[in-house]
Symmetry: C2
Subunit: 301 residues, 2 copies
């Protein structure tokens, strides 16, 4: 089994995670969470989003969070920006990079942002043009790439087509997201294969959910394909909006444990990461959605 | 990725699972659990053990459970038998097959059964001889095959050596157990490779725990090696005696979901299995330790 020797983990807990938690988390706690994650070795982190506070009140304080952070040189602080207004917020907050997203499902796009896939890509054009002009890198994420809550199966060709368009618009990374966690390893390999036929393998990232417990098996399948860009969420923050009570984002701790065991370098200190998982979980008043964090709870010293 | 087209799942929830639950479960509930599992398509099931009720009170009613079961022709009802007294109990209860076990760690064997690995194998000889004479098949399990709570790392050569001895004693299956769930996929492949050097690949089984969330990734690694004998526990029954609050046995539902997604046949009906997971979990008063069971809770009709 030849795997990449090194991977980049993009930590999504502070945005994708906390956005889907019921509880509101104050800016100071978010700042402490992000700074602890950076201290544990995270070098790419989603810190918030600039979207309407009417729709996503959990992220209304992103400007405040960005201003309060003690930022480190080697760390990328990314924010989600769905439109020009969001882009302007990101620039004002001095974000290092921005993220845009589309879905590989027409039905999901309609229900989620009320437009077709093609229209959603058009809407991002002013944002990507502005980012290019300003020299701000951006990454793109494709939701529902392994299945859709409304459509069910999603054709790998559609995922490949959307990937190509986002890559051609200038994204330095295109992240294939299994938004509802239904993917299994063979399907994962087929999607990656289809996408790798149209964009370079080294820009493909993966974002898997643990709703059906498949995330690590899918990451293993992706590693076996040569993928080295992984999204995950400390403590498994997030939950699954499509299955209340179920898991969403895979926990970063569980991913790092697997990588450590296989000698694949992530640069992350597992003990510090697990302490951070317990820090935010204690604030939320529940144990982390992470097997590793629970197993290591009493073994941290 | 060429995988076996078909696997056998050996369901351990009613014994290995319930033995490690704090709550005592009445014989009638165990009978209903086992019959529901069989109705879901399980064809090999651990129904109990014949060990001292002083040490394992949860299994004191195995004779009663075996007597009450409506047994199906095509199903193997197995029991754990550590010694001749246990073997006699198994015969009296008309068990279809028996199980013996050793550890791949001297320290674990000493703490667990107060003898060396070699001595433990000697002690099983009268049992295996009697079973052979009576035509009762037996399978063997090797605990701590990927790590030991006392010794830490366990050499793959020791696992291979113990496997060979148990196979030579007549076991039709030798199950490699990651008792504390510390294994990751590359290690899993190395252990299987070492064992497959000394006994036929088709008699090797695997028994993985989800303590660090690695079980499905490890099963995928084992499938990629051609392994087709898997242990798992409905609802993830069992917990981890070495890390209180942590997960032990991987949930059968999560394994079956992965197999279904990859077109690997297990003969198990996932919905019936998930209903069974909720049946026993409701009795125990907590949700199943299974991502699939939680995600499908409201999608069963």
């Amino acid at each position: 089994m030849t795997l990449p020797s090194k991977v980049r983990i993009f930590e999504v807990g502070a945005r994708d995670g906390l956005q889907n938690e019921k509880q509101m988390v104050p800016a100071d706690i978010k700042v402490e969470l992000i700074e602890r994650l950076v201290d544990a070795g995270i070098t790419a982190i989603e810190t918030g989003s600039f979207v309407s506070p009417k729709w996503v009140p959990q992220m209304a304080d992103t400007t405040d969070v960005m201003a309060k952070l003690s930022r480190q040189e080697n760390v990328t602080y990314a924010v989600l920006t769905p439109n020009m207004k969001g882009y302007e917020g990101a620039i004002a907050a001095k974000a290092d990079e921005i993220e845009i997203f589309s879905a590989a499902s027409e039905a999901f796009n309609q229900k989620n942002i009320n437009c077709t896939i093609a229209e959603s890509l058009e809407r991002f054009e002013p944002v990507t043009e502005a980012a290019k002009a300003a020299g701000i890198p951006y990454r793109a994420s494709i939701s529902c790439a392994l299945g859709c809550p409304f459509e069910g199966d999603v054709a790998v060709d559609v995922v490949a087509d959307v990937s190509k368009k986002l890559y051609d618009m200038g994204a330095y990374e295109v992240s294939i997201a299994d938004t509802i966690g239904v993917g299994t390893p063979i399907r994962t390999k087929k999607v990656i294969e289809a996408v790798a036929n149209v964009i370079p393998l080294e820009v493909i990232g993966v974002h898997f959910h643990d709703t059906y417990g498949q995330a690590l098996a899918n990451y293993l399948a992706a590693l076996e394909m040569g993928i080295s860009r992984f999204d995950s969420s400390v403590a498994g923050l997030g939950g699954c909006p499509y299955a209340p009570g179920a898991t969403g984002n895979v926990a970063t701790e569980d991913v790092v444990y697997m990588l450590d065991g296989m000698g694949v370098e992530s640069g992350i200190d597992l003990k510090k990461l697990v302490k951070t998982a317990w820090f935010i979980s204690n604030f939320l008043g529940r144990p982390p959605v992470s097997s590793v964090a629970r197993a290591l709870k009493n073994k941290l010293n």
